[in-house]
Amino acid sequence: MSEPRTSEPRVLDQPWRMWASVAVVGILLFGVLLGILIIPIVQGRSAGIDAYTAICRALGILPGSPARPQPVSAAPPTPVSQVVWTPQVLQILARGDTARGHAKVQEVCVACHGEQGMSPSPDFPNLNGQSGAAIYKQLHDYRTGSRTNPLMTGIAQALDDPTIPDVAAYYAGQPKRNPSPASLGELPAAIVQLVELGDPNRNIPPCAACHRPGSGGPIETPILSEQVREYLAQQLRMYASGERRNDVYARMRVIAAKLTPAEIDGLSRYYSAGFR
């Protein structure tokens, strides 16, 4: 049997090209018609949404679902901190001038936090090697009243805006002392476990999930390594009681409220010894 001429590739191919295109494009248009026009309009009608709004919602141009009215919330937002991390704020932080910061530190901060950021008193935190973003947030929170302290509130309010990143940059650039890992052996295993694994029984996440040498948690997370022991314990107690409340989403208030006094003491010792 001789091969019929119609089996030439070109002739063979024509119906393929046509019908494949019709099928694929047809299914596509059917989907578009159904998903963007018909379903939203029908769903919107029963939810009291006009056709135009429903279509815009189906496309994502307007927020919400075409099938449900958008809930309206009357509660005013009350953020615990006014600091917003925008690219502009990060740029301001990155442009902090350590020389100007040094001058300001010698003028204002030196008495309590030391020129190199080493606090002379157990009541005040060390600031050497602290994250610039953490210092920036705390100073701003003092200015806006999100965090209060008899000394710091007034001092922070007296600073002008451009000075804050300078001070933050200066202290962030001061070196940490050498950690003293020799004392790790004295720490109870339960504390090390709390730092590394948390306590799932009590819904306590590991401290190390956020507090790490680099970033772990949100950008404003402070570095705890080599922090003053008494200061750390005091802050944890203030979070636990709700006296301090500038932690976003109440993360630290929730965690600190679950810690026992012995754990607060142990964790403060852990971090003051320089462990990360």
């Binding site: 091969e3 089996s7 590739p9 070109r10 063979l12 191919d13 393929w16 090209r17 494949a20 295109s21 694929v24 494009v25 299914i27 596509l28 059917f30 989907g31 578009v32 159904l34 998903g35 963007i36 379903i39 939203p40 279509i55 919602r57 189906a58 496309l59 994502g60 141009i61 679902s65 075409p66 099938a67 991390w85 690219p87 990060l90 740029q91 476990q193 590394e196 694994l197 799932p200 029984n201 590991p206 190390a208 999930a209 790490r212 040498p213 680099g214 970033s215 950008i219």
Partner: protein, 538 residues
């Protein structure tokens, strides 16, 4: 030819070395998350391990295996030398350098970002650069596959491209389309962020670009298995392929419908409207069609083989099949796992049902069953089938091969069926540990232990697999080169150009992608969303 065999073996051994390491890590992960190993290891170690496991299994095993298999098919199915052998070796080196970069950054804890690319979390830039190098190596492979097919067509005008090569080139074309989304995300968003060149990243855009790659990449991994179903299985079973056209149609449909569907991975995401999600879910429905075609065609081919071997009656042909042959046995296992995994997948793609299993162990179970199960067991079978060709040696006995495949099947079922069940109970994924003291979670414990038993079985099977291949390298017997690829019942003399190349299908993929992804991507340019601060793992 020796050189091509060395090239293939070099690819396969990189793939299987990564596989063995990943199997060890996977078992360790299951152990520390089970009640038996609770509180062993830190979350940091767990996520480091998951990253290494995922990168090894999903990127190294797959990419290197597929490249090696592609070179093998190009030489054996087309019966002509591989063009650009130097390029192929160059690509292998680039890929290996990329793998080393990724491994070093993972092991030093600088890249514990799992193996997905979801900013604002970013790891070391060298981790991403390493993975880009692996992708670049695979692009060289894609070009070589296209060049090989084009050269063959020029030498054989009007003749149909052998199905095995048609499938391989379909995969190469699919991979070129697939990697566009990931490449754009990595090169323009993630790598600049990881290097610190930018401080913020548009998370919605990144997730959308990753979704472009995220579904079709699975079909890139699966197509070698389908290639074996159509071309090697009927031959191994002693029969013929029921329909060559059905095979071509399957690979074309996989190319068309695995791409414009990735948004079903973002059904719970807020950055896209319901309408665009609906469209992609509808198209996702069509990606099941090539699987149905395959089940029908391969089943029919096996029935031909069973009846040729004297099988009678409605089901008698099944018993008559040569199940003692690894390729046939693996196919039986793969079909069972494809069945369970496929139905699970249909649940994932449905908006309402997905909401219930979203981010639970169900999802982990689904992709382990489909990829780790169906695809990887066929990788084993393919390796077993072609290793005698590559080494010039013959297995002393097929029994260890059958044992290994059986252990893999049993292990995968025992591991993933409890995961599905746990997912339905709400067990979340991507966490380092569970608190079994919680009464709600305590009930999960026994099922987690059962799945750990599955994991241990899989580890035993993985060790045996590598042992079987190593044993063959030392075996003395010389193999008789047997034909690899099945003839069709009705071998095609001429096929329409549409089923002999990818020009038409590329145009249709473009149309589908423009409509399915055009608006979802354009909206980020029209109305830029608030960006997130880059979060770097250090």
């Amino acid at each position: 030819m020796r050189n091509v065999e060395r090239l293939c073996l070099a690819h396969f051994w990189v793939a299987f070395a990564a596989f063995l390491v990943a199997a060890l890590l996977g078992t360790w992960q299951m152990w520390v998350r089970s009640p038996l190993g609770a509180n062993i290891g830190t979350p940091g170690q767990y996520f480091l391990s998951v990253t290494a496991h995922g990168v090894s299994m999903a990127y190294v095993l797959t990419t290197f295996f597929i490249m090696g298999f592609g070179y093998f098919v190009a030489v054996t199915a087309l019966a002509r030398p591989l063009p650009g052998k130097a390029w192929a070796w160059g690509a292998w080196w680039v890929g290996v350098i990329g793998v080393v970069m990724a491994v070093v950054t993972i092991l030093t804890g600088q890249a514990s970002v799992l193996y997905t690319f979801y900013p604002p979390l970013t790891g070391s830039p060298w981790f991403y650069v390493g993975l880009v190098l692996v992708v670049v190596a695979s692009w060289v492979w894609c070009v070589l596959m296209l060049v090989a097919m084009t050269a063959w067509k020029r030498e054989n005008p009007g003749r149909p491209v052998p199905l095995a090569m048609f499938a391989t080139v379909a995969n190469a074309v699919l991979w070129l389309w697939t990697t566009v989304g990931l490449a754009v995300e990595l090169l323009f968003q993630v790598i600049p962020a990881a290097f610190g060149l930018v401080q913020t990243v548009d998370v919605g855009l990144a997730r959308t670009l990753f979704s472009w790659t995220l579904h079709s990449i699975v079909y890139f991994w699966l197509i070698p298995a389908y290639t074996a179903f159509y071309t090697m299985v009927p031959r191994a079973a002693g029969g013929r392929l029921y329909s060559d056209t059905m095979g071509r149609l399957t690979f074309v449909l996989l190319l068309l419908y695995s791409l414009p569907v990735g948004l079903h991975h973002l059904l719970m995401d807020p950055e896209h409207g319901n309408g665009t999600k609906f469209l992609q879910v509808l198209l996702t429905g069509f990606v099941t069609v090539p699987s149905w075609l395959t089940i029908f065609t391969v089943w029919a081919s096996l029935e031909i083989a069973g009846r040729l071997r004297g099988g009678r009656g409605l089901f008698g042909w099944i018993a008559a099949l040569p199940w003692e042959r690894p390729m046939v046995l693996a196919t039986g296992f793969a079909f069972i796992m494809l069945g369970f995994g496929g139905f699970g997948g249909i649940i994932n793609m449905a908006y309402g049902m997905n909401a219930m299993v979203h981010n639970t162990a169900w999802v982990t179970a689904h992709f382990h069953l489909i990829f780790g199960g169906s695809a990887v067991i066929m990788y084993f079978a393919i390796a077993y089938q072609i290793w005698p060709r590559l080494t010039g040696r013959e297995y002393a006995s097929l029994a260890p091969l059958r044992l290994q495949l059986s252990l893999w099947f049993i292990g995968m079922m025992v591991m993933t069926l409890p995961w599905h069940w746990l997912g339905l109970q709400g067990q979340w994924r991507r966490v380092a540990n569970f608190n079994y003291a919680d009464p709600l979670i305590a009930g999960w414990g026994p099922w987690v232990i059962v799945s750990l038993a599955g994991g241990l079985t899989l580890l035993a099977s993985a060790l045996l697999f590598v042992g079987n291949l190593l044993a063959l390298h030392r075996s003395a017997a010389i193999a008789v080169a047997r034909p690899l690829y099945a003839l069709a019942v009705d071998p095609p003399q001429r096929v329409p150009a549409a089923l002999n190349g990818f020009g038409l299908w590329n145009v249709l993929v473009l149309v589908l992608m423009l409509i399915a992804y055009g608006w979802p991507l354009a909206q980020f340019a029209i109305e830029p969303s608030p960006t997130a601060i880059v979060h770097r793992v250090q």
